[in-house]
Every structure is written in C-alpha cells, then in structure tokens.
C-alpha cells in the first residue's frame, strides 16, 4: 500500500492507495506552527485504515516546512561568504544582512586568476565568533569549475572557529549561475537545523510505529527524494504543492498528451503544463524569497482566483476579492463566491443551490443587475483570466531562449489537448475554461485529492550534469560537488562523455535505491566543443546531462474512474 500526504497552506490532504483503488482520504486543516504534528496525525488516520495483514511499502510527504521557515524569517542567522572575483559589482549581491566578501578569483575554465587571501579568511572567522554567527554559506564564482577556494575557506574557517557549520556552494549545486548557487546555499544553510530536526522526528515516529516503509520527500520538480538524502538538500523540498497537483494530474490521466493542469484552490488557482505527459519545468529554477535558485521546479503560474473567492459590488464595480471569507454559500458559507456563480448559472446542483441564489441575489440587488447577468459577468471574468494566463504560459514556453540554429528552425509550438481540473472547485469552473480554449475538460472523481495521490505515486528523479575539459583534464559533476582532475579523459569522444555521465547516474541512483528506474534515463543535454588554438585542436569541452525525469512509480497502474 502507498501513502501520500500533501501539506497545503490551508488544508493537508492524505491518501491511502492500494492496487487501483484509493482506500481512504483525509483532509485536515493545516497548523502552520506545527507541521510535523499535522503530518503525523494524518499519517495515523491513514494507517488506521490499513488492514491487519497488509503493509505500507512507501510513504511520500510533500511539505511546506522550508518555504514557511524562510517566509516567516525563522531560518537561522547565517553568514554569506562570497568570493565573486571580477564582474558584477559587489552591490549586486544583496541576499543576506551578513554578507562578507573575500578576495580571490577563478575563471570559467577553473583556472585561478587571483589567490585567496588567507589572512582575510582568518580575520573573518574571528569576526564571526564576535558576532556570534554559528553558520556560514560559502560561494565562489566558478567554484563549479574549481572548488579549491571554497575548500580552503572552509578549512581555514574551521581551523579558527571549529564550531562553525559551513555549507559550500559546490556541494549544493555544480551548475553555472553564481547568484543562484549562492542563494541556494544560503537558504540551505539557514533551514538545515530545522530540517534535520524534522527528519529526525519523522524517522523516530515511524520507528515507534514499527513501519518499514521507504519514506520520500516530494521535490519541486515533481520527483521524490529519499528522506535521508533530503538532509543534504532541504531546499529541493520547496514548492512541492504545485508539483503534487501536477503529478496528480498525470496520475489521473496516465498518457502522453499536452495538458493544462489547473488546481483550483480556495483562493488561488495554480496553472501548470504537462508537455507530452511530462511536467514543464521553470527555465530559470524556482524563485525563493525573490531570488532565483538552482532548485528545479515545475513551472507554475498562480492567480488570485479560487472557488471560495468572495464576490462583492463596490465603487460601482463587480469584483472578485482575493481573501477567503469561508466556504461558498452553497456549502454553508456566508458570502457568495465564484463557486456559487458557476453553481447557480450552470445549474450544477452543488450543495444547497438555493443558498447560492440567495447570496448572489443580494449582490445583484446592490449592483442593480439581473442575477443571470451578474453570474455571466463573474464567469466571464474567471474564464478570461484563466485563459489569458494560459496563453501567456504557452507563449513564454515557445519564446524560451535557444542557442542552436536547429532549435530556432524547428520552432516550438504548443497544441493543447485538454484541461485537467484539480481541486474541489474544479468541477464547476474547468468545463467552461476548457470550452473557451476549445478543448475537452478532464475531471476525475478523485480530482479533489489528486495532489496527495500525485505525491504517493511520483517516482524518484535524479539529474546528473557533467562538464569535461579534456585540455585541462578536469571533470565536474552535479550533484555531489565532484570537481576533480582526471588523466583518462584526454581522448574522450562524445560517446565516452555520455557513458561517464550515465555511469555516475547509475552509481548515484543505486545509492538512492532507484534501481527500478535507471534504465529509463534520458539524455537532456549534449554539447561538445573543439578547442582550437592556432589552427589545431588542443582539447574538447563536453557538457552532458542525463536524468531520470519525473514520472510515476512502476507499481502504479492507474486508478478506477
């Protein structure tokens, strides 16, 4: 049996899944001050429904813990130590109130341009002791091509200040983009203590219950990460909510079509795209606290309209308000909402349709409008906003930068096959949105718990990115922060580079228990450059990326409609 739990801003959903059936679903209000309590409560309720002879094989948690910690300023005070070398001014990096700059520079080939000033590092260590800062994130420009400066800084800092917790950017991400690497490392260091605590608590609770299930955390990219591995990469767990609904949509549809996924929540709707059955990722990585990071994330657009968004007539205008006042009138609420407008006008018979009419009529009287016109105007507003946002998303995807002639000649074009509705209010709203986009709607009887189902059946993902410079005999690998000299790559061809990347993928994947999925790897990046100096070739540069893309676990064969 499988368990999926998705902690949302308002509600936490859980499902217990077996074979092709959802055995039990739970919905509980989220207590943002005690997330692990909520998770464990929901888990207990689900476990209670497990038959005596059955066992739970897999538990996947999607939690807002990291996002909450950062958003509420509860991350630990962390020094951000940057080695930016030459380029943008230091004023371009305003991430932390405790930012320190060190001299030293590395270039794009990993060559040292300027040595580290050791005395500077030592006096910085003393300064941190004085300030009482216990954690430091260290990031150097091009440390992904040569990590020696970061390593030296860590060594010197620890020598002077042994209790300092140091996180290095090359360990967190090996990809190009120094500000994103610095931000990701900084946030990782800030939330690390709380995250370790959370993992400890979950492990303890499972042990007490005698559960042998493998536990995963859902990542922003729609894949999962084994709970122990998450200790090193807590930031990967951000924005797992939209990832959960997108994977839920995939779990309900189970095919390779182009889908628009709209998760209609209480006060917001999240839009995402499945391109041939694969969630579309944000090209610039997840944005956290206004900073781009190296966290791969499903590309999501949020708009401030949900099923419970209240309607009002003020200053001569009919408006949809952003803040929730409670449930829709038809479900016992005290205000007419978006759901009521759809419910009444389209005769959907949701809850008490008379209450929908009654509360809508109050606004219609204020606005001096006919009830039908009022509903039509709201429906048009909602549908227009959603369809316009959708078109913007298509366009943005089609206009993403490209760096090869082939990519420009073979222009991207997105043809939508259908709209998948997720969330309780989807039933009312999605059919009209699909109609206006000229495609079929897809609503499943489990649409309202698709997020938790998506978490339960999402498979683990892993991307391995390799950068080889045969002239300098250097090899850099992500993840893991490997930047090493290798004498055996001088005669490498593209096939050899690809094989090396695949070998790493298998080694890392096996260590993460991903054996079942490794043969399904895909090459997502393959570039080779001849280095010409004078008129002859002196080496080659390879960039290769291989991955286990987001998808569904093998045990999942769909769910009864």
């Amino acid at each position: 049996m499988l368990i999926g739990i998705d902690v949302g801003g308002t509600f936490t959903d859980g499902v217990l899944f077996n074979g092709r059936d959802i055995v039990k679903t739970i919905k509980q209000p989220t207590d943002n001050d005690n997330l692990q309590r909520v998770i464990l409560d929901v888990l207990d309720d689900l476990l209670a429904a497990v038959p005596a002879q059955a066992s739970v094989e897999r538990i996947v948690l999607s939690t807002t813990l990291v996002t909450n910690l950062l958003a509420t300023g509860r991350g630990e005070r962390t020094a951000l130590i940057l080695i930016p070398g030459y380029g943008l001014p230091h004023s371009a990096y305003h991430l932390s109130p405790d930012t320190f700059f060190l001299r030293g520079a590395i270039d794009f080939r990993g060559r040292e341009i300027e040595a580290l000033a050791k005395d500077e590092v030592i006096s910085l260590a003393k300064h941190l002791i004085q300030l009482g800062i216990k954690r430091a994130a260290v990031a150097g420009k091009f440390s992904n091509r040569n990590r020696s400066h970061e390593d030296q800084v860590a060594h010197l800092l620890k020598q002077e200040y042994p209790d300092l917790e140091v996180t290095l950017s090359c360990d967190i991400s090996n990809r190009l983009n120094f500000p994103r690497r610095a931000a990701t490392t900084y946030f990782t260091a800030m939330v690390s203590p709380e995250w370790q605590h959370f993992v400890n608590e979950v492990e303890k609770a499972l042990q007490q219950k005698g559960l042998k299930a493998e536990v995963h955390i859902l990542k922003a990219d729609g894949g999962t990460l084994p709970l122990p591995v998450s200790r090193k990469y807590p930031c990967e767990t951000i924005f797992s909510g939209p990832a959960a609904s997108t994977m839920g949509a995939l779990a309900l549809t189970m095919d390779q079509q182009n889908s628009l996924v709209i998760d209609v929540g209480g006060t917001t709707s999240d839009l995402a795209l499945l391109v041939e059955g694969v969630p579309l990722h944000a090209s610039k990585g997840a944005r956290l606290m206004g900073q781009y990071t190296h966290v791969d994330a499903v590309s999501v657009r949020s708009i401030a309209i949900g099923g419970d968004s209240p309607l009002t007539f003020a200053e001569g205008e009919l408006k949809i308000l952003p803040e929730r006042h409670g449930p829709a009138a038809c479900f016992g609420g005290e205000t007419a909402t978006v759901t009521d407008a759809f419910n009444y006008r389209l005769a959907l018979n949701q809850g008490d349709i008379n209450r929908s009419r009654e509360y809508l009529q109050q606004i219609a009287d204020l606005a001096n409008m006919k009830l039908e016109d009022l509903c039509d105007s709201i429906i048009t507003q909602v549908v227009t906003t959603l369809t316009e946002t959708t078109r913007e998303m298509f366009k943005e995807w089609e206009n993403e930068p490209a760096y090869k002639v082939w990519e420009i000649v073979h222009r991207r074009h997105f043809t939508l096959d259908r709209v998948v509705g997720i969330g309780a209010a989807a039933y009312c709203i999605i059919p009209r949105v699909a109609e206006s986009l000229g495609v079929q709607p897809f609503i499943h009887r489990y649409s309202d718990v698709a997020n938790a189902l998506g978490a339960a059946v999402a498979r683990p993902t892993l991307s391995v990115y390799l950068h080889l410079d045969t002239e300098r005999s250097t090899c850099a690998i992500e993840p893991g922060g490997v930047v090493e000299k290798r004498s055996d790559i001088s005669k490498f061809q593209l096939e050899d580079a690809r094989k090396l990347a695949v070998d790493y993928l298998y080694a890392m994947g096996k260590a993460r228990g991903m054996d079942d999925y490794l043969d399904d790897y895909k090459v997502f990046l393959e570039e080779q450059f001849n280095m010409i100096r004078g008129w002859s070739r002196t080496g080659r540069i390879f960039d290769v990326g291989v991955q286990i893309a987001p998808g569904l676990i093998q045990a999942y064969q769909g769910v009864e409609q």
Binding site: R111, L176, K284, Y403, V405, N530, I541
Partner: protein, 449 residues
C-alpha cells in the same frame, strides 16, 4: 525603468569550418561568463529568443547572386532575424536599449553577394536598418562601427545614402583586412561626408580610441541628430585578439558603450574567445544596462601596459580635425557634385572575397538627381566558388528616393528584362517593398516574399 534587451545566440551548431575562427567555440566562454554571472536573471535585463528573418528582409539589402539559397544557411537567417527581434522590442518600447550577441557576423557583406567575405554573407545591421525604416518609418540612422576591421560592407551599402551616418574606427587598412577605410573614403557624390573613417595605427590603446569617441563620434552624433544609434560591436580591438593588433580593453569597450549609449548594439567580429569576449560582452551589457562596471577586468589586465604614445595621439588628433571639417562642410561638397555634367556618376571597382576567393567586378552608376540621392545600378560579374560565372544587373531604389528616380529605375529594370545582356536582373524597390528577380533568357520573373 525599462530593461536592456539581450539576445544571446551563440549558434553552438554552426561553423564556417571546424578550425575557422568562426566556429562553435567562439561564444562558449562568453556563455559561461554570462550564465555564471547570472546576468539574465537581473531585473534590468530581458532575454529574447531569435527568430528567422524572411527572404524579403534580406532582399531589402542584398542582391544575392543568383538567389538567396545559393549562399545562405539557416544560421544566417537566424542571426539576421535576431537583430529584427531586438529592433521590434526597442520600437515597441519594451526595452530601453538592446544588444544582439549573435553570430555569424555581417559587416563585410556588401549589396551584391557572390559568396562569403570576411566571414560575412549578409549584413545583419543593414537588414535591421531597412526593416526599421520600412516598418517604423525611421529616417536618420547612425552606425558606429567599433570592430577592428573596416566595415566595408556597411560602408558600401550606405555609400550613397546621406541619411545613414557611418562612422568606423579601425586598425589601418595598410596593416589589416580588408585593406580599406582610409580617411578620404567619405561617401558617394550625393552622400558625401556621411561616411567617416578613422584608420588607427596598430597598438592604439583605450586613450586613443576614446579621443576619437569624445572628439569626433559624439560631436558628429550631436550634429547629425539620428533617430537611432547602432553600435556595430566588433570586439577585436582587444589587446589579445589573434587576428588584429590593437590595445583596447574590456573597460575601454564598456566605457565606450556608456558614452555612446547606442539604442542597439550588434556583435560583429572578435576572435579572442577566451581572454577577451567573455569580458567585453559583460562590459557592454553592464554599460548598456546602467550597471557599475568598475569591478570588471581581464585576468591579465595591468593598467600600466596601456599608455598611448604622444606621436600616435598627435596623428589621431589630426584625423579627427580633418573628419570634423569634412562632415561640417559636406553640403557644399554635395552641391558642387550636383552641378557636375552628365546624368549618371559612374565608378568601376573590383571586390575580393577572401573567404571564398572570388574576384568580383562592378560598374556602379548613380543618377545625379537634383531632388534626392539618386538610384543605383550595379553591374556585377564574378566567377563563384562552384565555377559558375554570372553577369548580373542590380537596380536599387533607396527608401529616400524621389518619385522621378523611382520611375526611371523601374523602367530601366523593365527594359533590361527584355534584353539578354545579363543572366539575372534584379529590382530592389525599398519604397514599395517589391523585390524582383528576372532571368531574361528564360523569360522568368520571381518576386521575393
């Protein structure tokens, strides 16, 4: 504040040949530097995606003999299309200025194209200029060519156009390809003084180049009052360029763009792929985006190595003086030329294509019109790389042409389509945007769309 538009198109799958300076590797380290700096993530930068230029956009500038397909690869359409993306973004007010870091380059490509010259097949800037003039009604354009090589292609295309001010500073033509761009190359008889060349001695430094910017380029822009300023942004004046011999720095390039404040910059040459391009491109972007670039420098930069010799500075001052005067007295010179006898000015020239080893011969005739800058008829012949010999006539009606000239140009075209003197006869009518190709022997006419 509007962002700076950036279109980065390194063409990682295109090269002239595997070991040629124009190869896949050219912008690799620039990619590394820009991406590592995270410059595309800055709120002041907006990144754009290239598109393909249409054949009609290219036909507005070039007579490609015999047709566009003969010399153009998809890469050329993408590079030219990229400049149009930036031009549209600028004219629609989405960006305050824009930089197209693109390859292949274009500034050696002339009106008539028999093949590749100086790594160029089509002239990206000229294609953008004609696009802007037709679609957005811009009239006066200034092109500042900051490549180390003289932009003989751009100069030739606008040689007879008084509304395009072409200023180029470059390493002296006696010491470097293409061997032109001397002080007295100053424009055709009816567009005299709006072509300004400043040949510089090898090893000229930041100081010398900035003297030209401060004392010639900026004053001329002030007086010319263009609707748009374009930096034809080659990067091979750099002290590490392997093909040239100047001593310009990344700081020098950044400061130049800060002073010049171009509306649009387009990458041209620059072949020091590791030690110059990553830093110069950063510098230009930062200067255009209004970012502080004082922390930018090359790894081996040492200020004391870049002193200008007094003798060279003296020479530069003299050239600047001559060119200022030439520009300011250009109207008198043009009036004098107008009074000369004969309906047509005529000129014979030979053009060498270094990359493709082609020798082209041209007879150029320009109508001496009392009302406008005239129309051009270029008779061209060359044996192309594949051994085929072509003799063609190219008739060009510029966008600022008077109705009488246009009428006469069209009637010349019609007459020639009935004779068998030429393999191909072309009509380039920029006013009505009609581009015709006729093969008189086959009695066939095509319209480029």
């Amino acid at each position: 504040m509007k962002p700076t538009g950036l279109l980065f198109f390194p063409a990682f799958d295109w090269a002239i040949s595997p070991t040629h300076p124009e190869r896949e590797e050219r912008l690799l380290y620039t990619r590394d530097q820009l991406f590592e700096e995270g410059i595309m993530d800055l709120p002041g930068i907006k990144e754009y995606k290239p598109r393909l230029a249409e054949p009609i956009d290219i036909a507005a500038v070039h007579f490609s003999v015999p047709d566009l397909d003969a010399h153009l690869l998809e890469a050329h359409f993408v590079a030219a299309g990229s400049t149009l993306v930036i031009a549209d973004a600028f004219m629609k007010g989405e960006i305050k200025n824009g930089f197209a870091i693109i390859r292949p380059p274009g500034h050696h490509a002339m009106s008539v194209t028999h093949g590749n010259r100086g790594f160029c097949n089509i002239n990206n800037e000229a294609i953008m200029i004609e696009y802007l003039r037709y679609h957005y009604g811009l009239k006066k354009i200034a092109v500042i060519d900051t490549d180390v090589h003289h932009g003989d292609g751009t100069q030739e295309i606008y040689w007879d156009d008084p509304d395009v001010l072409y200023i180029s500073f470059h390493q002296d033509g006696r010491t470097l390809y293409p061997g032109s761009g001397f002080v007295d190359e100053a424009g055709g008889p009816l567009a005299y003084g709006t072509t300004i060349n400043v040949p510089l001695m090898p090893k000229t430094t930041d100081e010398g180049i900035h003297y030209v910017i401060d004392n010639l380029v900026l004053p001329l822009l002030e007086e010319f009052k263009p609707d748009l300023v374009i930096n034809s942004a080659g990067q091979d004046n750099h002290y590490t360029d392997p093909l040239a011999d100047m001593r310009f720095t990344a700081q020098g390039y950044a400061t130049l763009n800060h002073k010049l404040a171009p509306d649009i910059a387009v990458l041209e040459g620059g072949y020091s792929v590791e030690t110059a391009l990553p830093y110069i491109n950063m510098g230009i972007i930062m200067a255009m985006a209004g970012l502080d670039y004082s922390n930018l420098r090359e790894p081996d930069y040492a200020r004391e190595n870049f002193k200008e010799s007094p003798r060279n500075l003296e020479l530069i001052k003299r050239i600047v003086e001559v060119q200022l005067d030439r520009f300011r007295t250009r109207q008198e010179e043009i009036e004098k030329n107008r009074r000369s006898k004969g309906e047509f000015f005529s000129e014979y020239r030979r053009i060498f294509y270094d990359t493709d080893y082609i020798h082209e011969e041209q007879q150029v005739r320009l109508r001496n019109c009392p009302h406008c800058c005239g129309f051009r008829m270029i008779e061209s012949s060359a044996q192309q790389r594949n051994g085929k010999y072509y003799r063609v006539m190219c008739i060009s009606v510029p966008i600022n042409c008077c109705p009488a000239c246009r009428e006469q140009a069209i009637s010349h075209y019609q007459d020639l389509t009935r004779s068998s003197r030429y393999d191909y006869v072309y009509l380039q009518d920029r006013i009505e945007r009609q581009y015709r190709v006729c093969q008189p022997d086959l009695e066939r006419e095509d319209i480029i769309k």
